[in-house]
């Protein structure tokens, strides 16, 4: 780099040289550009899914139940971008419908797991005492159960429904959320300004709102992204194993499982929804990572 070397080349007794121009800041590095592209692509993908879901719900197009026995196991083409399955149903339509269910489950998971878990964590961290110990033991017990087993048990016993599945997965996330929020609450609680507020009898809800919540919120949101992806993947896995929504209700895992038998002749039945699932999870992860980066 001739610019730099000329700038560095100064001798002890050399006559003064005119200063070389300073290096300007390079516009974004390739890595940064790539990350931005990925971020926008992820947002775009999710937006696309939402649009398709809306179309499926509001219009007669993309009907997941419509069977066309004249066009079974058709390869992806213009009429059926994802092809058709053994019953002549449009795979794209089924995938989109499956997305609806997956997102619903993810939302339930979030509500049950994140909200409940955080509340428990904050309460435990703030008030400590016997409640904290008892809850801690209960959560440890919950965590000792192999996760999938618990979900299967619950779903088997209560029947497969969106709420059961979402609730079960959410239940299993409670310990992680509780742990994190508890430790944050503990550290906030021990700060001097909080101790001072307690001393002057500041009402507890106020302390929680103004001191604890702002500290917990960012971490919570970051975890929420993870929770959503875990929820989607767990639902997919459960449906795949047969513990998800009952047929013919479409769920990603279920569709993937159905297409398994035709993997050799009509791979798109399985692979299209599988790819959609993966890309969706990837997109959410990318957005989550971006959020974490921005927070730093």
């Amino acid at each position: 780099m001739p610019q730099i070397t000329s700038a560095l080349a100064t001798g002890t007794t050399a006559p003064p040289t005119s200063p070389a121009p300073a290096l300007k800041r390079r516009s974004r590095t390739t890595g940064e550009r790539l990350q931005t592209v990925l971020f926008i692509a992820s947002l775009g993908w999710l937006a696309l899914l939402l649009v398709l879901m809306f179309v499926s719900m509001a219009t007669p197009w993309l009907d997941p139940f419509q069977q066309d026995f004249g066009a079974t196991k058709q390869a992806p083409g213009f009429a059926h971008p994802f092809g058709t399955d053994a019953n002549g149903r449009d795979v794209l339509a089924r995938t989109v419908a499956g997305a609806q269910n997956s997102f619903t489950v993810a939302a339930i998971t979030l509500v049950v797991g994140a909200v409940t878990g955080s509340v428990i964590g904050i309460v435990c961290g703030y008030f400590r005492g016997w409640f904290d110990s008892v809850v801690g033991l209960a959560l440890d017990t919950l965590m000792a159960f192999p996760a999938l087993m618990l979900i299967i048990l619950l779903v088997s016993f209560r029947g497969p429904s969106l709420w059961t599945i979402g609730g079960a997965i959410g239940l299993l996330m409670i310990p992680s959320f509780a742990r994190v929020t508890r430790s944050i609450t503990l550290s906030v609680r021990s700060r001097e300004y909080v101790q001072a507020a307690v001393l002057i009898d500041t009402p507890t809800p106020r302390i929680l709102l103004t001191a604890v919540l702002p500290a917990v919120a960012p971490v919570l949101v970051a975890y929420a992204f993870t929770a959503v992806t875990v929820g989607i993947v767990a639902e997919g896995s459960m449906s795949f194993l047969g513990y998800g929504l009952a047929a013919p209700a479409p769920s990603w895992g279920g569709i993937i499982a159905e297409g398994r038998t035709a993997l050799a002749q009509a791979p798109w039945i399985t692979l299209a929804p599988a790819a959609t699932l993966t890309i969706t999870v990837l997109a959410i992860n990318v957005i989550g990572e971006r959020f974490k980066e921005k927070r730093k």
Partner: protein
């Protein structure tokens, strides 16, 4: 240390108690599942009491524990087979799967993570970070399906499903192992890679690493003896925690590849409400998790002398 063990035992007890309470949640369900619905109430009741399904959970726990001491883990109310016998046949298979995939994951993750940490921002660093990010996003069963599609359907070099015992057919055994183990280990490898890379990166900027280099220590030696040692602590923790999660992964993989391990046993027994099987499996699984946690705790003290030093003072 003692407190830890005590708490672990407590947890174990609670888990066992919870599983023993399962029959009470849905009374009569097991009887219905086994005998069918065209059976009189009396017969259902008889079945229920014969298998102690209506007994107090504590009682049932007691019976189970005393049974264990005789090597008897109960009998399946569906097939009448001994639970212990089933486990003996299936447990080794699952264990083999889990252990091999964990080993592979660690073996894959360590060299890449260390190299990447030594040269931050290098191509290896960025590629491995990107690859592990993607791998983490792929659900296990999707990865398994993709592998099956690629190797079994398209390339036809590996079997898609099934299982062969090592004694019967060593080559076939290995062939059937490859895809399931790969499925399990790739995801884990991504997790380990990330964790290790982050840890190693933090360690490498420490002053004592620079000091070691100032005495002429070669990069390889630094990474192997100094960095790995310190970074292994969090890694061990993650592996320990993963033991619990790996059961779930094994379940999926066993179902996907039709492998006769305890994962499949579990799901089938739940489906038919085979409580004795469920209970034994659940307790054993919880036991494994608890043992893993305690083991992780112990290894902490071995690896980092500061911790035991502080604990002893």
């Amino acid at each position: 240390m003692v407190r830890r063990a005590g708490r672990a035992l407590c947890v174990l007890f609670l888990v066992a108690l919870a599983t023993m309470s399962l029959p009470l949640l849905l009374p009569g369900s097991a009887a219905v599942a086994v005998l069918g619905t065209n059976v009189s109430a009396a017969e259902l009741a008889a079945f229920t009491s014969m298998h102690h399904l209506d007994a107090n959970p504590l009682e049932r726990l007691w019976m189970w524990v005393t049974g264990v001491l005789h090597g008897d883990l109960g009998t399946s109310i569906v097939s009448g087979a001994s639970v212990a016998g089933e486990l003996q046949a299936r447990l080794p298979i699952t264990v083999e799967l889990v252990v091999l995939s964990q080993l592979l994951a660690i073996l894959l993750a360590i060299p890449v993570a260390l190299r990447a940490a030594w040269r931050p921002g290098s191509l290896l660093d960025r590629l491995s970070a990107g690859l592990s990010f993607v791998l983490l996003s792929i659900p296990g069963f999707v990865l398994g399906l993709a592998l099956i599609f690629l190797f079994a359907v398209q390339l036809r070099i590996l079997p898609a499903t099934g299982w062969v015992g090592f004694a019967q057919d060593p080559v076939g055994h290995v062939q059937h192992l490859i895809l399931p183990v790969l499925t399990l280990s790739l995801g884990e490898a991504a997790v380990y890679l990330r964790a290790l890379r982050a840890n190693a990166g933090e360690i490498l900027v420490e002053n004592y690493i620079h000091a070691a280099r100032s005495r002429g220590m070669a990069p390889g030696r630094i990474l192997r003896t100094r960095v790995l040692r310190s970074a292994s602590l969090p890694l061990v923790t993650i592996v320990g925690i993963n033991i619990g999660a790996s059961f779930g992964g094994a379940l999926i993989v066993e179902t996907l590849f039709a492998i006769p391990g305890i994962g499949r046993l579990l799901s089938s027994s739940i489906a038919v409400r085979d409580y004795p099987v469920i209970e034994s499996l659940a307790i054993i699984a919880a036991l494994a998790v608890v043992v893993a946690t305690v083991a992780v705790d112990l290894s902490y003290r071995i690896i980092d002398p500061r911790i035991s030093h502080a604990a002893n003072n």
